[in-house]
């Protein structure tokens, strides 16, 4: 996936100011930044939900899967009914087979007949992602996928997502959790006020923090990152 010079304006406010992003096949890219940085706007543009005011966007083959921040599921339907519905809407030749495949991938085969509203947030998020995968995307976009999950659920979620990336799917996710981004993101894109401040591996970000905010370099990564943002005027 390649995005060049993306610009998006809401009224007088510039949500994105010429952001670039390139993600290779099987890469896990984390988009981090404070509230209002433009993370969700960038993902929405990459997903095709929003149109950019300027810039170019391209995907080399395959579809783009979109997993919104809040689970986009019908809570009164069962796990299987949700997957079957979206497989049918995607126009799959054999929706039942696709459903079985996603149930296995999400590890929810045993709970297929359970009403979604009765599942934990973590399991709902896994179905949410599984639905995003029904379009057989080469790129999967996740908007803050771990919000509201407990540590155990997070661990299972990231295990699931990492396995997808291991299978060749490009995964781009946004998060507020710096540790999570550092741990799972192979590359980090730092946004603040719609501006791209950094794009590279976590180690390079640490170095950048150390050089730009040396007074916070020995503290935990999140504190150092906040100092880095302040040093850059955000």
């Amino acid at each position: 996936m390649q995005a060049r010079g993306l610009v998006k304006t809401y009224g007088d406010r510039k949500a994105l100011r010429g952001v670039d992003l390139v993600a290779e096949a099987g890469e896990l890219v984390a988009i981090i930044g404070p509230n209002g940085a433009g993370k969700t706007t960038l993902l929405s543009i990459l997903a095709g939900i929003l149109k950019p005011d300027a810039g170019e966007l391209g995907v080399d083959g395959g579809a783009v899967g979109w997993v919104p921040q809040q689970a986009a599921l019908y809570r009164r339907l069962s796990v299987e009914e949700n997957l079957l519905l979206f497989a049918r809407l995607e126009g799959h030749d054999d929706p039942q087979a696709s459903t079985e495949e996603m149930l296995e991938l999400a590890g929810l085969g045993a709970r297929r007949r359970e009403i979604v509203a009765r599942l934990s947030g973590g399991n709902q998020q896994r179905i949410n992602i599984a639905i995003g995968l029904l379009s057989r995307p080469s790129v999967l976009l996740l908007d803050e996928p771990s919000v509201g999950l407990d540590p155990r659920q997070r661990a299972r979620l990231w295990e699931f997502v990492s396995a997808l990336a291991g299978g060749g799917t490009t995964v781009i996710f946004s998060t507020h959790d710096i540790q999570e981004a550092e741990r799972y993101g192979r590359r980090l894109l730092v946004l603040a006020d719609g501006e791209s401040l950094f794009d590279g591996p976590a180690d390079e970000l640490r170095e950048a923090v150390r050089s730009e905010a040396p007074e916070a370099a020995d503290r935990d990564f999140e504190t150092a990152f906040v100092a880095y943002l302040q040093h850059r005027g955000h």
């Binding site: 095709g48 919104p68 009914e81």
Partner: protein, 450 residues
Amino acid sequence: MRWLLLKDLQILRRSPLQACLLVAYPVLIAILVGFAISRGPEKPRVAFLNEVPAETRVNVGGQELAAAGVDDRICARVDCVHVEDRDEAVTEVESGDVLAALILPADLVDQINSLSTLTPGTPKVEVLVNQEDPVKAQLVDERISTLLAQANLAIARRIAIEGGRYLELIIDGGKFEVVGQTIPILGLSASARILEALGPALPAGPLRGSLAQVTEFTARARDNLDVAEPLIKRIAQPIVVEKEVVDGSAPPLEIFAIAVAATLTLAFVTVLLVAGSLALEREENAFSRLTRGLISPAGLLGEKVLLGVAVGLVVTLLMLAGMQLFVPLRWDRFGLWLLAILGGGGALAAAGAALGAAAREVRAVSLLAFMVTLPIAFLSLIPSGAVGAGVFDLVEVVTAVFPFKPALEAMTAALDPAGSGIGGPLLHLAVLIAAYGLLARFALRRFAAV
């Protein structure tokens, strides 16, 4: 689209309480409204004392009528509480158990019978009233006044006929019975003939001149009293009502009540279901996912309208089938019923979609649907003349903008074989479908926004 439709029906099936409320509540309201407008006001409770002896017969104009039947006629118009005497009647009225007491005195029939005699009396009835409840007191006044007016009219007709008979006797002569004796009456016509015959027999002079004057008077009186007879009969009912319908054709009350009940049911089911189901897509965060290539916003609106029309059609037809138990309906007009339900349901569903897209949250949508539908439905039932001309014009405009009134007109036309055509209301509904469809599509542009 069919998979989304199936999904919505599945969700509806998973929420039996919600589904029951969605159907039962509007049906209940519809039946209550239909019942209320199809029956007259409650009969007022009136204490009734008839002191007229049972064997007495009313004799007016030589015709005898049984006085006993009067009880049934009175008690058909008021809820009679039979009392034994005047004191009991007073007690009943004072205690508030009854709103009034009607007392027919023992000499009532004699007084009525005297009206056709040469010494007429004044028949009187006694009415005791309790004006505690002004609305019911007015109702009692109206009912008793109507009863007395009807009785007075019947008696006046008899008296007029009797008066006419006396005139005929005076003009043409005949026999008159009084105090058991039959008295022959010569009559003006015969008198005139006799007087004319006597004239030539008298010698010329003042006596013959006087006889000529009497003869002329007798002839004129005969001729002019002929004219007076229909005049006297007309006095009994001087004003005759000639009713002519110049605009509108009122359907039978029970048909109108069924049309109101069916349209109310259709309106609530359709508007609530479509608005709620559209808002649910947003609450479940599914809207963005669906409209990202799986279905277009217009397609989603179409699916919701189809859902509303399908469920509204089933519920309304079931309701009409239930009504069949109480009022015979013309099933040979089933095709027109379908047209009315589909047209009305389509416009109401489009309005529901616009409401759902504008309000966006299920709770807000449900409240808004009730707040809009119920007042509009009641405004649509206001007849012309019930409010001032300016206010009625405003009501007409408001009710024309919402689909309830044209849907009611279409339903009434479909149910009433003697009613006006269904084409006009259907055209109106088609315009509203297009207008609300555009509004809903416009409102969907900001639907997914937080």
